[in-house]
């Protein structure tokens, strides 16, 4: 056992010295390898963080949201509609919600206006999200005017700014009193945008939804779990598409690694010939090359992953934020909660180390089976 360990130490020693002797070639490979890991890891870390963020955000939303449809389009909930639902077993709370979009031509962005039930806001006052605070240069106590769709100018005092920590959803939010909301949008009295319901037992949600469809055929219940699943699969899908696009890069990297491993310089060939002649066996050379591959792979993997981690969590993924995230004009500026996931690291490993190893296997074997008598044949 000790001789085995000692032997591996010798092989690693030799490998390190041999890598150092060919710095140029190996640094090139290491750089490209690291770059590949960096890009893939950035995609993975970023989408994963978005997914967790979305899950965290949705965790606070109601289990079921009921919309009314007219001709297949979302329409307002008329007065008395909620009462029609009547009592459904398992539904703890149901309430109408008021919210809508407002286009601000000054900064050319959409805001979400909302009249919350559980937050006390005085008439004439609003609470705004952090993105609004930035784009319009607002602070608590300032006044702001919005021109409503009917052409009137409404002025509000900013009572407060929402905290940063859940900026992904709250960035473009404007909260106001119900009466202000109805006045601003000329929203008919007694009407609501949709109905939020909370259901305590997760097993019951599906049944509640079926009962809702029965009693209100023109309604569309939206289940939180379904939204979660859709989000999860959309993020997965985006990540998958990115990977599919990047698979060309992985393939190119594989070919590059093959080239590098197959295109041994005359000097390297001579070295392997010498080793074979003075008592190294094919297996020893393969082991030596295996250590070489492992050292390069681990270095590249570690460096690439750390760089990607810094890129995503400390530099806000500046390189491809717009590809993976955005659909709104007001980009939420948020720092994702750092998160490392075992499955993700394992997957990344499969996408990088596995193709590399597969690509260099045959060239390594070719080199290692150099006949020991070649050095004597000049």
């Amino acid at each position: 056992m000790n001789t085995w360990i000692e032997k591996q130490r010798h092989l690693i020693d030799f490998t390190l010295a041999s890598l150092a002797r060919r710095k140029g070639k190996n640094l090139g490979l290491l750089f490209i390898y690291t770059l590949l890991v960096f890009v893939l890891a950035s995609v993975a870390l970023y989408t994963h963080a978005l997914r967790t963020e979305a899950q965290k955000v949705l965790a606070g939303t109601p289990e079921i949201v009921l919309q009314r449809l007219v001709a297949g389009r979302h329409d307002l909930i008329p007065p008395g509609y909620i009462e029609q639902i009547g009592r459904i077993r398992g539904v703890q709370k149901k309430e109408g919600r008021l919210w809508g979009y407002y286009y601000d031509s000054v900064v050319k962005a959409n805001y979400t206006f909302m009249a919350p039930r559980d937050l006390k806001i005085e008439r004439g006052e609003i609470i705004v999200g952090p993105a609004l605070e930035r784009s319009r240069g607002l602070a608590a106590g300032n006044g702001i005017s919005f021109r409503s769709y009917s052409g009137e100018l409404h002025t509000f005092i900013i009572a407060d700014v929402l905290p940063q920590n859940s900026e992904l959803v709250s960035a473009d939010l404007v909260l106001m009193h119900e009466a202000d909301f109805r006045a601003f949008f000329k929203y008919p009295e007694g009407h609501f945008t949709d109905v939020a319901m909370s259901v305590a037992n997760p097993q019951e949600i599906k049944n509640v939804a079926i009962k809702l469809m029965d009693s209100l055929p023109d309604s569309r219940p939206i289940l939180r779990d379904e939204v979660l699943r859709t989000y999860a699969s959309i993020f997965d899908w985006r990540e998958g598409i990115m990977l599919a696009l990047l698979s060309a890069a992985i393939l190119a990297f594989g070919i590059f690694a093959w080239e590098k491993a197959a295109g041994l310089s005359a000097e390297e060939k001579r070295e392997i010939g010498i080793l074979k002649a003075i008592g190294w066996e094919t297996g020893d050379v393969i082991k030596m090359k295996f250590w070489e591959g492992l050292l390069i792979s681990l270095t590249a993997f570690f460096a690439g992953y750390v760089a990607a981690y810094l890129h995503v969590f400390h530099f806000d993924a500046i390189l491809f934020e717009s590809v993976l995230k955005g659909w709104a004009v007001l980009y939420p500026r948020f720092t994702l909660p750092p998160h490392i996931d075992g499955l993700q690291v394992a997957t990344l490993f499969f996408f990088t180390v596995f193709p590399y190893t597969a690509a260099v296997l045959v060239p390594i074997w070719r080199a290692a089976t150099t006949d020991p008598d070649t050095v004597m044949r000049g």
């Binding site: 085995w4 010295a17 002797r21 010939g273 002649a277 008592g279 044949r377 000049g378």
Partner: protein, 225 residues
């Protein structure tokens, strides 16, 4: 020590340019003696030396090392035997450039897994024995031809071989260095090692160090004395 029976070695077997580099060699290498192989180029000297040194397997025939038949052994075991029994000195020295003299010396002991500390001690004493103690950390490409060969000799001795194989050892040395080499050779022979070498050089072949001369021509032994 080494016995060859009816050794034949083919190259490009089964193709139109097939040729037999060795054809029916019968040879016994006596223990603790110096045997020289000589012959014109293309006579099969080097091929015979590779088979004697277990660097290659014969296409046909038997090789016995101390009575044990080793001709059918796969490379893995042949290499093990070679490492334990043989030391090699090549015409081109074949040192790994970019590594220090001492690292080159211990290189052929790596697969044995002996502790590095022991190897370094051993290599130091070997280098000191050929007056290279002060050059141990010099990169081999900065050494002179004679020094390089002495490093190569140390490398051949690191695993304590019973048998030394040298291929044209003086081909790259001038007369003075060749004389030095012969002195070292004599010391090695006196220490009880079996030595087989090939050479064109009359200075080597006709020196008193050599006990037996085997002459080859066209893959056959034509003379032994």
């Amino acid at each position: 020590m080494l016995e060859l029976t009816n050794i034949r070695k083919a190259f490009n077997q089964g193709r139109h340019n097939e040729y037999w580099a060795l054809d029916g060699i019968e040879l016994a290498i006596p223990e603790k003696q110096v045997t020289a192989l000589r012959g014109p180029s293309g006579s099969g000297k080097t091929t015979l030396l590779t088979i004697l040194g277990c660097l290659a397997r014969p296409t046909e025939g038997r090789v016995r090392l101390k009575g044990e038949d080793i001709s059918g052994l796969p490379e893995r075991f042949l290499t093990e035997i070679r490492r334990q029994t043989f030391g090699f000195i090549f015409q081109q020295f074949n040192l790994v450039r970019g590594m220090s003299a001492i690292d080159n010396v211990i290189l052929s002991a790596y697969p044995t897994g002996r502790p590095r500390k022991d190897l370094l001690l051993k290599a130091e004493s070997l280098l000191a024995g050929v007056d290279l103690g002060h050059r141990r950390d010099a990169k081999v490409e900065w050494l002179s031809g004679g020094e390089q060969q002495r490093v190569a000799i140390c490398r051949a001795l690191i695993n304590d071989p019973e048998l030394l194989i040298a291929d044209e050892p003086t081909a790259n040395l001038d007369t003075r260095l060749s004389k030095e080499f012969l002195a070292i050779l004599e010391r090695l022979a006196d220490s009880g090692r079996t030595i087989v070498l090939t050479s064109h050089d009359p200075m080597v072949v006709e020196s008193d160090v050599v006990d037996f001369i085997v002459s080859l021509r066209d893959g056959k032994i034509v003379d032994e004395k």
